[in-house]
């Protein structure tokens, strides 16, 4: 959804047209949910954050003044994720081991079309292990890492979404990557064999 189409829908939504807004929801809900899921590492929390985000987006769409709707929306989603993380922090923290056992990617399905079952299983294992690693990062680093390396946004876009300077994005991303790398090196057994990080000169791809 790009250009005129999206613009017209936004204008209609700003005038209170729920159906028009819902067409925007349908266009962005997968990306939104995916972002929330990777940041939060939990299907229910991600659904809550997504729902909250779309509701606040609808209520606040009158304040949207052009620019990138996607960036505007993701900013709301990111804030909803911070809220969820705060809620989570109030609950007793779950240990790494519980996360590993209790987070079997319940709920969301992500089978790519034409993917073989064994490939699917492998990717699921990979996903789970990395999700545990992401869960060890501080919230700011987590959000930056997911936006960059999972969602594929560039530094400038991330700075816009998270409302910080380019330098901050750079340093957060650098620390997040180094930390996740150290986690995966230390807990290499979590990863399927062919995905393990290798120290050797020959890269294991």
């Amino acid at each position: 959804m790009q250009g005129m189409d999206e613009k017209a829908l936004i204008t209609a939504a700003q005038q209170g047209d729920v159906d028009a807004f819902n067409r925007l929801v349908l266009a962005y809900q997968n990306m939104t949910y995916n972002l929330a899921y990777r940041i939060l590492g939990d299907g229910d929390a991600a659904a809550d954050a997504t729902q909250d985000a779309f509701l606040s987006a609808y209520r606040g769409i009158g304040r949207f003044r052009g620019g990138s709707f996607k960036a505007w929306l993701l900013r709301i989603v990111t804030n909803a994720c911070y809220d969820q993380l705060r809620v989570k922090q109030r609950r007793p923290t779950t240990s790494l081991e519980t996360l590993l056992v209790a987070d079997p990617e319940s709920g969301p399905s992500f089978a790519e079309e034409g993917e073989k079952p064994e490939e699917y299983t492998l990717r699921q294992e990979l996903s789970r292990a990395i999700q545990v690693g992401i869960g060890t990062l501080p919230a700011d680093q987590r959000v930056t890492l997911v936006l960059s390396d999972i969602q594929g946004f560039n530094y400038q876009e991330i700075a816009e979404i998270t409302d910080v300077s380019l330098g901050t994005v750079k340093s957060r991303l650098s620390r997040a990557r180094a930390r996740l790398r150290d986690f995966l090196l230390a807990r290499g057994e979590l990863l399927p064999a062919q995905y393990r990080l290798t120290d050797s000169m020959v890269e294991g791809e």
Binding site: V18, F21, N22, V25, L26, Q29, N30, T32, Y33, N34, Y37, R38, G43, A46, A47, T50, Q51, F54, L55, Y58, R59, E105, G107, P108, S109, F110, A111, E112, R123, Q124, L126, S127, I130, L145, S148, D149, I150, G152, N154, Y155, G167, K170, S171, L173, S174, R177, A178, L180, R181, L184, L185, L191, Y195, L197, T198, D199, E203, G204, E205
Partner: protein
Amino acid sequence: MVNILRGIGKSEHERIEEMLSAYIDGELSTAQKARVDAHLAKCEDCARNLRTMRQTVSLLGQLPTVKAPRSFAIREAQVTPRRRAGVRWSWAYSALQGATVLAFLLFVVVSAGDVTLTHFAPAMGGAPMLAYSAPAEEAPAAQWITPNKRAGQVEETVVVEEVVTATPAEMPVPPAPTGTPVPAVMGKAAPTPTPAVMGKAAPTPTPAAPAAYETDEGTQDAGLPTEEAMMVMVEQTPAATPTQAAEEATPAPTEEAMVAMAERSAATPPPPAEAAPLPTETPVEVVSRQGPEGGVPEEEHALRVSPFANPARVALWVIEGGLLVLAVALLAATLWVRRARRQL
């Protein structure tokens, strides 16, 4: 700028390590990139760190995209439920409010009737008073009602007016309430037929009672309307039972409640009215006792007979207790709904 400052005091190795992430993304200037390349050529640690970081980023990129488990489309009801829900809540709130007031009023009526009967019985049968404990039991009741006061204020006042206007017709006009410090209540209390009540209400010299009475006019003292209501309830019953004993006994609990409240607010010594007169005493005695002494309660004079001896009384207590529990539960529900409504 910040990065430059941060770099001070760090080794070249550390600075290069911090640039690896941006190096991967191609976000370094040409000069920076050349510097990193030069360092990587001679530093195996950094070369390894770069490799493993690249693998990490690559793994993240391979993560499957999670699909939304359901539609997150907004429903009309989600964005416009406020008004409708508000109406429903306010209806429930009004209903609960009414029910709470009703329960409390019923409790007060039954309690007042109970007290009246308790003191009325000896006058008829000649037996000593059954339970002096009645006032003590009433005191908390009066306090319980206070939180509800605001909600029930209007209704209670209405009752008061009705009763007050009703009573004078049936009752002999008492001596004029001259010298009374509280015009508001006295106006209402004036029609009370027996000197006993007058004697109690009129001469109260301590600030506690007038203060409480004045609140009846305007300020929202919690204690008062309750007291007033009870007094009136009590007055209502004597119309049928014109014994002085009944008249005398009933104000006592409410007065005591007032005293309790006065004490809690550290206001004043107990008003003389506190002395709950015994039904056997004459009004004259009451007045004289309350006058100069400042109202020292002489509860020791009371004949204490176990109230449990009378099954009817126990049954009445059960009813009163039930009513009180119901009223408090309704009050709690009302407050809960009020809070819930505010959160909408």
